[in-house]
Symmetry: C2
Subunit: 487 residues, 2 copies
């Protein structure tokens, strides 16, 4: 049923182009950048994720005999090329921005430096994996921001776009800030907290709601969250839950993790009323958990209404990034080095839209932090051989509206290079932190943003500028092409 080997997880045109290069060997080494152009969900940032799965994909690239047999059956590929594929392995270098990092449009998140055939083959899977997980991590960061410190539980598996979307989406959601997931397989694969209690069907399979609650409480006294909306939240669910909690108290069972979950109706009203009833019975520390098509906007609204909810189960709209279900990352050729050359020749892809013109050359990304606040001052996309000296004054300028300039004084900022090597000559040179470590790192990353860049409406953009050297190179290449076109 499931393909274990993802080597054929690629677009056919990658293979037809590969055969083209095989038959017309140039022995070029190329640089491809994976980057995105627009922040998801109208936000001012994204969170990278999926790197570990991307590295595993690269490490495991191998065409099986079955794969070769299938490709042969297409009558498109010649025997010498199939022979080449059967011995294929990835021999290039890959740099990437670590998972959980706050990133911005046009920054290379992944940089592939490899023989052109290899770099081409891996395009589709790299995009698939990084696009998906970065999307969900970003959405999760937004949802968690809305919840202002309350726990967010990822509950979306049943609505995810297939098994992987559930499994790896939950992984990404936890990196972005979720406290745990309902997906047991994600828990097993990535050693992350898994959460959940019972469904309406549990209640309905008993003669009455009280018996269902009571049975559950006896089984799981230490994690006793009762679903109160099967019949009527305030007339039946909450009173029955209180009755069960009271009986537990009388029996001397410590009420540690306990509470109710409301899965439908007016969550603001119901939670406030339920809280009053619970508090009147001496259960004001009960968790009041809510679920029901939640997202960052609804949670923000419920918070603004002083809803008495302190735990949130978020499903469909998080696991699909409902309002923006694709990340939009692209993979573009940035430079080519011929076999007989030692230098990369920068390449540029034109577009009618100035913002879509690619940044040429072998690049890296530096982040400038304000020394005092720890917040991001700006990012600078540079050529890879440029070094920044944090003791020097710098003038940053907007790469489109170049008259927009800012001076950054030497000594007031710290510099960090974002891209790190993850694959060298086809071998992994990077060990991923655990998912829970990535989650912690990602929290810190999000704290390097001002709240103004994290809000949902009209967030403040973070500056991503080009170094003077890169900007000059880009301008020269554009002039050159434009001159040619006039000939």
């Amino acid at each position: 049923m499931r393909a274990n080997n993802l080597t054929l997880l690629t677009d056919l045109y990658e293979l037809t182009m590969m055969q083209g290069y095989f038959k017309n060997p140039t022995n070029q080494t190329v640089i491809f950048d994976m980057f995105y152009r627009t922040n998801p969900c109208g936000g001012a940032f994204a969170i990278t994720a999926g790197l570990e799965q991307m590295i595993e994909y690269i490490e495991n690239l191998k065409f099986t005999d079955e794969d070769i047999e299938y490709l042969r059956s297409l009558n498109t590929f010649e025997e010498d090329f199939l022979e080449y594929l059967s011995n294929f392995r990835f021999t290039g270098d890959i740099y990437a921005i670590p998972e959980g990092t706050v990133v911005f449009p046009r920054e290379p998140l992944v940089k592939v430096v490899a023989p052109i055939m290899e770099a081409q083959l891996v395009e589709t899977a790299i995009l698939n994996i990084i696009n998906h997980q970065s999307l969900i991590a970003t959405k999760a960061a937004r949802v968690c921001y809305a919840a202002k410190g309350d726990a967010i539980m990822e509950f979306g598996l049943r609505r995810a776009q297939g098994p992987d979307a559930g499994i790896f989406g939950a992984r990404a959601a936890i990196i972005g800030g979720c406290a745990g997931t309902s997906c047991v397989l994600t828990g097993k694969m990535f050693d992350v907290p898994i959460l959940g209690t019972h469904a309406h069907s549990w209640i309905m399979s008993f003669p009455d709601e009280y018996t269902a609650f009571k049975t559950y409480a006896k089984l799981y006294p230490n994690a006793c969250t009762l679903l109160v909306d099967t019949y009527d939240v305030l007339k039946s669910g909450v009173p029955n839950a209180i009755r069960v909690f009271e009986e537990m108290r009388e029996e001397g069972i410590p009420l540690t993790r306990y509470g109710i979950r409301i899965d439908s109706g007016d969550l603001a009203y119901l939670s406030k009323e339920a809280y009053k009833m619970l508090a009147a019975a001496g259960f004001d520390d009960a968790v009041i958990s809510a679920s029901s098509d939640l997202d960052e906007y609804l949670i923000e609204s419920l918070k603004a209404q002083d809803a008495k909810i302190n735990s949130w189960g978020v499903g469909t709209r998080l696991i699909t990034a409902n309002d923006n279900p694709a990340f939009g990352g692209v993979y573009k050729l940035a430079a080519v080095k011929d076999a007989d050359s030692t230098e990369f020749t920068p390449k540029i892809k034109l577009s009618e839209n100035t913002e879509k013109v690619t940044n040429p050359g072998n690049k890296t990304v530096y982040r400038l932090y304000n020394k005092k606040t720890g917040k991001i001052r700006a990012d600078l996309i540079c050529l890879a051989d440029e070094k920044l000296d944090a003791d020097q004054n710098m003038v940053l300028f907007d790469p489109i509206d170049t008259w927009k300039k800012t001076k950054v004084l030497g000594g007031t900022y710290e510099v960090r290079e974002l891209l790190v090597p993850v694959i060298r000559e086809g071998k992994r040179v990077y060990e991923s932190p655990s998912v829970m470590e990535l989650r912690e790192y990602c929290q810190k990353e999000q704290n390097t943003l001002w709240d103004e860049s994290r809000r949902f409406v009209n967030p403040q953009k973070v500056y991503v500028d080009l170094s003077q050297k890169l900007w000059d190179l880009k301008k020269d290449l554009l002039e050159e092409i434009s001159e040619k076109a006039l000939d």
Copy 2:
């Protein structure tokens, strides 16, 4: 990297509930219905898909030693229950509406009849698989309808929500009507056409566009679609393509499958101008293929503008069902049979919203076709023991607004039962057709709809009514609950 065994692809609460039933054995057999409430994308229908993967999931259910070890580590499950899980297999019956069928809200797409613990375990994965593929098949049917017979190629792998979303999304897209996919792995797994030519990077890796085209044409003279928008579609791309086609013609190479692809810019204008240039050079039969964030609305608009496009590459917005990325299928308890009983007791789930009240009991779905036109007259959700006699007159009535009645004359319609058995006592009793057969079946299915139900704006709803017997049962149960609440 990838989990081969999907047994833990479930929500934790399924397992906590299972342990609850294990510890409090009722030996109930239950019926769960999987159905959805709202058609995706504002349409009037959906297409079912994913059944084959669902059956495989059921057949392969087995907790490995590793799974048990993991569950033990959670300190939530007791040894006797873990022992039970280690011997677990699914022993129930499953009925389903075959893949590729046109379906409507509230119809059971899948009906699970099984011991309560088993029926509960499989909830999450059934929803995940059927929700995902039905969503994409439905979206694909819409996109193909807009294209009015032109070929739609599924190109979305790089933007899909993870590997499975790409692999099985492409499968579902083909069931819904796509001519093929770019995803090589889907081609291999399901024996479906795979398609693709080259990327901008191919063009950019050559000294000039003409050389890139020429090299490609030499390699693939029988499938020579040239991407013309790397530099300038009308000034460079199309003239260079025509030059290459002319040289092929001069060399006597038969131009069978050849043409251009436009991936950016104003597709209406560019395609018309490109067509004029191609036609003037004697290439009026060249395929003009377009891609660039297409969906059913854009294709419909381009068709209305008489764009000269006859082949469409659709990526992101199809593979994510961009405007409606979750299908919203649910899995609800419909009936319970106690160990000492031979009869199922119908169960109903209330909701403030009348349309959300579930349909109780052991049900089936009949479809009435107009004998003359072959179009769907109405669907009727019945109790499973009801038989319809197509020779008798029938009065159908709206299940919400019951005064809305229609009489259907005996002899004017044909009847088909939609649910078929797929699993009996845990064993597969259904062989899925091939994906290309499903695609053909799905075309026929879509032809049983009037165009008025297929259009995108305000489509005409298809009647889904309840039989008198089911309606009476539902009313009685509601009355009973309502009486009880007054006590």
